[in-house]
């Protein structure tokens, strides 16, 4: 899948993006990414950053520019983007924007197996999810508002706006799902409970289930 790219980790894309503005050493990258909140949109951790920078170097997308030392701190190696790196940055970004990828969000996985819960249980958990979703939505929205108030251009907040839109959709979906389960006239509850009982039953007596 991502095997065609020499470096597959999206953290590498962020590194290329920041190095395209100015050379930096890894720690500075780490700090900058954190400061600009990119760690909300790109999975980040300290150890991976060094790994990714090495991979980028091996792939020729960045080069070691100089090595400086201040006092007795460890040496800091400053990296700069190369022309190849710039090309990779643009090509990669274009691909990510233009081609939707099949992904596996946790909630989708959970939904695909939710029949293994008793319907009453499922409804309770779905209700609980709603409050969590509201909290996350509020958090994202606050981040947007605060940033706008600080003068950050909306261009740099699109991803949070997208998150808000998705959270809204998810909340609406969950609410509707709850009503579809609990609806007194056509609700799935009873049928589901039967399926669940059958699934839960250990089928100890009788012959094993026939294969399809």
């Amino acid at each position: 899948m991502a095997a065609r790219r020499k470096v597959g980790n999206l953290l590498g894309l962020a590194v290329l993006a920041y190095l395209s503005r100015a050379p930096m050493h890894p720690y500075e990258l780490s700090r900058t990414l954190r400061d600009y909140g990119d760690d909300r949109s790109i999975k980040f951790n300290h150890g991976s950053l060094y790994m990714v920078v090495q991979q980028l170097a091996k792939a020729g997308f960045v080069t070691e520019l100089e090595t400086t030392r201040e006092g007795q701190r460890p040496e800091r190696t400053v990296y700069a983007i190369t022309d190849g790196g710039r090309a990779e940055l643009h090509d990669w970004l274009r691909e990510l924007v233009s081609e939707p990828e099949h992904e596996y969000p946790n909630f989708v996985s959970a939904l695909s197996l939710i029949a293994a819960l008793h319907p009453d249980d499922a409804v309770e958990r779905l209700r609980s999810r709603l409050t969590g979703l509201a909290a996350r939505r509020a958090e994202a929205q606050k981040l947007i508002d605060d940033s706008l108030a600080e003068g950050v251009p909306e261009l740099f907040l699109i991803e949070e706006e997208f998150r808000v839109a998705q959270l809204d959709t998810e909340a609406a979906f969950v609410e509707r799902l709850i009503t579809r389960i609990t609806d007194p006239v056509a609700g799935w509850g009873p049928g589901w409970a039967q399926v669940h009982a059958a699934m839960t039953a250990q089928a100890p007596p009788g012959p094993a289930e026939p294969q399809a």
Copy 2:
């Protein structure tokens, strides 16, 4: 994060779910998961399955039930879920349903860095994304329709319905984004182009940029 679970891979959850219905050997699991289309919702690959089953065994969630051999084929080890496995299955599912997790979809990452593209380029790629989204939506919807026609209860199609809802939201968002960029009176295009020019500028002449 997922370090509290002995087995973190969601494929393990699917294995527990299927083993809770009947004991199986790994290849049968593999086949069943594929047949029921669970590989659309849970990242699946052949190698990982064996790994996960071993992990589940080590954690005590499943046990080796028997080892059979047919003809000269390799031995097949049949696994059964344990009481601990059943508990883990329910606890894990409940957690996944009730607690939204912070995740990192590719498109969110891409949006967070999209300013690195020229606005015209971005718009073109966003348009292209729209057609991809439509295709995926159609595919998911067809799967739903076909399954319903075959008599599959809607309960087992929730995750595809959710996918459709998300795809719709994403498409609407992308369309709106395009108009926000290209709007002739208040569009971001010009401002973005400036930012982009400044970012792209290589600052080759003159002294190096001062560090913050």
